[in-house]
Subunit: 382 residues, 2 copies
């Protein structure tokens, strides 16, 4: 391995780590990955894979001690170990102080309030019981959005509550409720910052969610919004980024309501599903930006090469087991369609198994092509 | 690993294999690599690396027996094993019959003659001694170009001979001589063919050689030639491709002489240095094309996204040993400059250690940027 470069350690070995690794391979950077799953997809493309528990203090400390720069591809990691590693002089990106706020959605909401960043109204509860009491006492108006304070992802840990009964299946942990936003669109802006203070910002993209799974299904870049909204979204994202003073990527998910008001939904301090399009669609991808931040190098050109649509490929409902792909070759019927498969051995309903990005000067044409491919390609199990 | 895909084996673990692997990783294809160097760069990005001698029949047979599709990233491999593997029903790309012609430059020249493909005039000799006799007997006019029949690469196995003394340091093996061409430019066209007969062709690029090392130094895409020459070059390349009936990539190196005549210099049946630009500069890279051929999928869009210049980064004269890079961060001063480092631990004079591709709507501007970076970035050893 190369002696000139700091050694990078990635906590988490899923697809985000894998795409970051792919980018690191271009420079032959020395990178190691830790995951608790011995079959984590990063293992296939990484010569130096460590098996360890991301939430275990000693595992994270051991892993971090052997590298120069520690980063994450998942928020669910042991924070105390990251703090200690930072104290010991390791570069930790995002900084533990930033991750601590983001790991807890109550703290995140309070942070927006403190920094006067537009966000939907919310209330926090230290247990599900206290939320139930509040509803029973008519202190809360239904419907509302319930969110687990910690470690929700991909539609898990978020639920629309229409009645008290809707709370029955939920864990009795710290949580928050948000009032429903009369949504026009959901948008995302990804910002990158380096320790030296260089900042870059990707264009505003539009996120379309699957109404059944509550997961993002399509990303349209650029978002089909007015120039005014675009500028406001960028300004809001930069304000959030500036407030957090984070290093590395910060993906800022925004609500645009029917009155054209923008507000922050939540953020993720790592590569994000809403930035996969940038691998082919931007001059520099979110993964290249993040690596630059890890190495504290100047950031590069985030502008778009071509309008693009990304569609997630997820495991079909009703199938769990060793993965089988159907009709993948259809990707080759669409000009400028780029298939990414994450290499997961097992599929299960709604598991993110891959994605396709389609470049097309006509965004709506790309969207229709993506919808067609999504219908044709099935991810099942025998 | 995924069960849906045939298992691919790459003979050779250098940078061409590594870039092919990077592409295969996007689909999480099951790929294994064999190289005789236990530190081959592919090993860093490959979970399934095999140590073996590419020229040893049994090593190649063993390796090939465990995969479905065998391909190469270097021509210097055991041909008999590839023939046997093909007989045993394995897909071998390029086909051994094609590789057999290309491995031997005398056979290659005879092939062009037989197929009435324009090439420089040549004579073949079964030994250096017989060439010396011919010169002594005044049967040959000096200067001329000497080429070893087998296994020359990167400027090795090629020499301009001005006098008898110039032959002294050469190996006494089968060789050929070519008459000097009054060169205007050297061009390259890369064609891909699938077993099902789909064909794609990359734009004509211009190759600039380093006059001291005789290695390609810059690739300019598209080539700065007239539309007429461009069309002729494409037609000539397609004729060569059609004559070989190869599967996978074929890089066709062309001479353009001062009278605007095009002729074939030589070909390579694999990813080629003159196609690295396509990773960022084309909608589909040479590596994506080659993978499509390996899987017999329809080929994709080879047109250019942006004019581009690729510059090779090679080990500086006078330095051999563990590699040290100087001023790499300068890449970040150029918009849309993409650095690739191959991860070789040891540098030596003129060893290919990496490359940079620069996208710029103004080709000449990209060229000047590339020249500047080439001056700034030094690859040395302490």
């Amino acid at each position: 391995m190369l002696d000139n470069f700091p050694k990078i350690g990635i906590l988490g070995g899923g697809q985000l780590g894998k795409m970051l690794l792919s980018e690191a391979h271009q420079w032959s950077l020395p990178v190691t990955v830790m995951d608790s799953d011995v079959n984590a997809v990063c293992k296939q493309v990484c010569h130096d894979f460590v098996h360890g528990d991301l939430l275990n203090y000693h595992d994270v400390m051991n892993f971090g001690s052997k590298v120069d720069v520690v980063t994450i591809e998942i928020e669910k990691v042991n924070l105390e170990a990251l703090k200690k590693l930072e104290q010991n002089g390791k570069t930790v990106i995002p900084q533990p102080s930033v991750l601590e706020i983001i790991q807890n959605k109550v703290k995140q909401k309070q942070f927006y309030k403190k920094h006067q960043i537009a966000t939907s109204r919310f209330q926090s509860f230290d247990s599900l019981e206290s939320l139930k009491s509040a509803i029973l006492n008519n202190e809360m108006e239904l419907p509302l959005i319930w969110k687990a304070a910690r470690f929700g992802y991909d539609g898990y840990g978020v639920k629309k509550i229409d009645s008290l009964a809707g709370l029955d299946s939920l864990d009795d942990n710290e949580c928050l409720t948000e009032e429903l936003v009369d949504l026009s669109k959901e948008l995302s802006v990804i910002v990158c910052r380096t320790p030296s203070g260089d900042t870059s910002c990707f264009p505003v993209v539009e996120m379309e969610f699957n109404s059944l799974s509550n997961q993002v299904e399509y990303i349209l870049c650029p978002a089909r919004v007015s120039k005014t909204i675009e500028n406001q979204a960028i300004q809001l994202a930069l304000k959030v980024s500036e407030s957090f003073q984070h290093y590395g990527l910060l993906a800022i998910e925004l609500f645009l309501d029917k009155n054209q008001n923008l507000m922050v939904n939540e953020v993720a301090p790592r590569p994000h599903n809403s930035g996969h399009w940038s691998i082919e669609g931007a001059y520099s991808s979110q993964y290249q930006q993040h690596l630059s931040a890890l190495l504290d190098l100047p950031l590069k050109n985030t502008s778009i090469k071509s309008p693009s649509v990304m569609v997630n490929l997820v495991g079909k409902e009703g199938y769990s087991g060793p993965v089988v792909y159907e009709n993948l070759e259809r990707v080759h019927t669409i000009s400028n369609a780029y298939l990414h498969l994450y290499g997961k051995e097992m599929t299960r309903p709604n598991r993110k198994m891959g994605h396709i990005t389609i470049l097309n000067q006509e965004l709506n044409a790309a969207y229709h092509q993506a919808q067609k491919l999504k219908q044709q390609i099935q991810i099942i199990s025998n």
